[in-house]
């Protein structure tokens, strides 16, 4: 049953930069429509894990990887880069808006994937902004440069932009690290509402954020996956003492 539910599965995933091993034998399953939180101190390989999933790591020429990542039952090595990155979208720590208008930012993805029909693009832009719950705020300013928006709006614009390429999975790499509490709350609300139709993986340095948003949680430490469990259980009765130490703030 669980096996069928897994949309992503890694088998003995090992990642290296030159000779430095940053991830060791990671075996994890990500279930459909869940929010999986990934917590752990800096340099524990969280971001590398996330970027391994949509193969953004391979842009770095020093990067090497062993093991298998399975997406929808298929080894990701057999899927072209542009397709896997379309199916598994990513939101970065700093809102990475492009220096063009709000509209063009969102239209960029669909255009890259060959949608030429102007009407369809317009429709996608509107849908995506609505799904990311920023339509009401931004609908009258679609022509303004996206760089003029506030940090929180930019980050939700980035979510909308990712939604416009119609992914199945959305990766978040510390999406709120540069945002104020109000904007953070809005991003978190958006994530919770998106959970109905998307699988989401959230890397965060903020253990409280993981406890608020995620359904299940994974704890990474020094390149190893210490444990992965229901968030509620993990935050009350973790099976590994190191997890308890990290969550309660004894180190990290």
């Amino acid at each position: 049953m669980v096996e069928q539910n897994a949309i992503i599965k890694t088998i003995n995933l090992n990642c290296f930069y030159d000779n430095l091993q940053v991830l060791r034998d990671i075996n994890i399953e990500v279930y459909r429509n869940e929010i999986l939180g990934i917590i752990g101190p800096a340099n524990s390989g969280k971001t590398t894990f996330l970027r391994a999933l949509n193969r953004l790591n391979s842009l770095n020429i020093n990067y090497r990887q062993k093991g298998v990542i399975v997406f929808e039952g298929q080894n990701t090595q057999d899927i072209p880069d542009s397709l896997i990155r379309r199916k598994i979208g990513i939101i970065f720590a700093m809102p990475q808006v492009l220096p063009v208008s709000i509209y063009e930012n969102i239209a960029y993805g669909p255009k890259v994937h060959g949608i030429r029909d102007k009407h369809r693009v317009e429709q996608l832009v509107e849908e995506s902004l609505k799904k990311a719950f920023v339509w009401d705020e931004l609908k009258d300013r679609l022509k303004t440069p996206a760089t003029k928006l506030s940090g929180g709006q930019q980050q939700r614009l980035c979510i909308a932009r990712t939604l416009a390429i119609e992914p199945d999975v959305i990766l978040y790499d510390e999406p709120c690290s540069g945002l104020d509490p109000i904007s953070t709350a809005k991003v978190e609300d958006t994530m919770s509402l998106l959970a109905q139709s998307y699988t989401q993986i959230l890397v965060t340095n903020n253990t409280k954020q993981a406890s608020r948003v995620s359904h299940r949680c994974a704890f990474f430490l020094m390149g190893e996956l210490v444990e992965v469990d229901q968030t509620r259980k993990m935050y009350t009765h973790p099976s590994d003492p190191r997890t308890d130490d990290y969550i309660t703030g004894k180190f990290g």
């Binding site: 397709l83 990155r85 970065f92 990475q96 492009l98 220096p99 960029y108 993805g109 255009k111 890259v112």
Partner: protein, 289 residues
């Protein structure tokens, strides 16, 4: 006390250097203007700018700058048409595609390219490129606009490549990652994100390239044929503003109308390059923001 005095001396020296540069530019301009005005007292500015003949030693002389400006513009436009696409493509290759070791080799080769003296290029133009153009297009002489267009394009390439490359490397990594993250291919990222983001720097590179071409003297003097006539095509001999000054200055009587006419040509050239450099600066500034 002593420190304070020392500081003041250094500060004054630096300030003086800064103002000296401004003073030099203004002095050169005034110098050109003064001698040009000596011509315009006896020969109207309107005729100088509109007359289509440059006949400085006939009686009475005609100083029409139009054929010279046309010659300069023709070779400049020709050179730009060739070197901008090639230069930007090379810069893109070096900045985004070439593997590390090749990048280093290419960059130092381009520096070598920039250091070739223009007289050597002119020499190559006379003995090799000129005859080649002559035979290819069945012309009566290979010393024509097109030959200099090729050489000028070659000369402007290093400027365009290195400044464009700086602009491309300066594109924030996050733009690229955002594009890759949306599933864009390498080529789509370069074409739709990196190039537009670097466009103001590339424009500045093109402007400086044009400035380099329009001010070049030796090559055009050696290979354009130096005929101060209205060129009907790029395959005909022509003459540029720069070559006119360099070629005729030695043969005029100091203080004659002809002498002052060459200063007026210099003034026009100065204004053209000044406007080009200024435009380039505006673009570069826009890019930095």
């Amino acid at each position: 006390m002593r420190n304070k005095f020392g500081e003041r001396v250094i500060e004054t020296a630096i300030r003086f250097s800064g103002f000296a540069i401004i003073a030099f530019v203004i002095l050169i301009f005034l110098f050109l203007l003064k001698d040009s005005l000596s011509l315009f007292r006896v020969y109207s500015f309107k005729r100088f700018i509109l007359e289509q003949k440059w006949l400085p030693i006939s009686e009475p002389p005609t100083f029409g700058i139009v054929p010279l400006i046309t010659g300069s513009l023709l070779v400049t436009v020709g050179a730009i048409v060739i070197c901008v696409p090639v230069g930007v493509a090379t810069a893109l290759y070096i900045a985004e595609i070439a593997p590390g070791y090749l990048k280093t080799i290419l960059k130092s080769l381009i520096e070598v390219l920039a250091s070739i003296p223009s007289v050597v290029l002119g020499f190559i133009g006379i003995i090799w490129l000129g005859p080649f153009v002559k035979n290819t297009f069945h012309l009566s002489t290979g010393m024509c606009g097109l030959t200099s267009v090729f050489l000028l394009a070659f000369m402007a390439l290093p400027t365009i490549i290195s400044i464009s490359e700086d602009a491309l490397v300066g594109v924030p990594r996050m733009y690229k990652e955002a594009a890759y993250g949306l599933g864009a291919t390498h080529w789509q990222t370069l074409w739709r994100i990196v190039l537009p983001a670097a466009s103001s720097g590339i424009m500045a590179a093109v402007m400086l390239g044009i400035g380099r071409v329009i001010g070049e003297t030796m090559v055009v003097m050696m290979v354009t044929g130096n005929a101060p006539i209205m060129p009907k095509s790029i395959l005909q001999p022509l003459r540029t503003l720069t070559a006119t000054i360099a070629g005729e200055m030695g043969e005029t009587v100091s203080g004659s109308d002809h002498y002052y006419a060459l200063f007026a040509v210099g003034l026009i050239l100065f204004i053209i390059t000044f406007v080009l450099n200024f435009t380039a600066e505006v673009f570069l500034r826009k890019g930095r923001r």
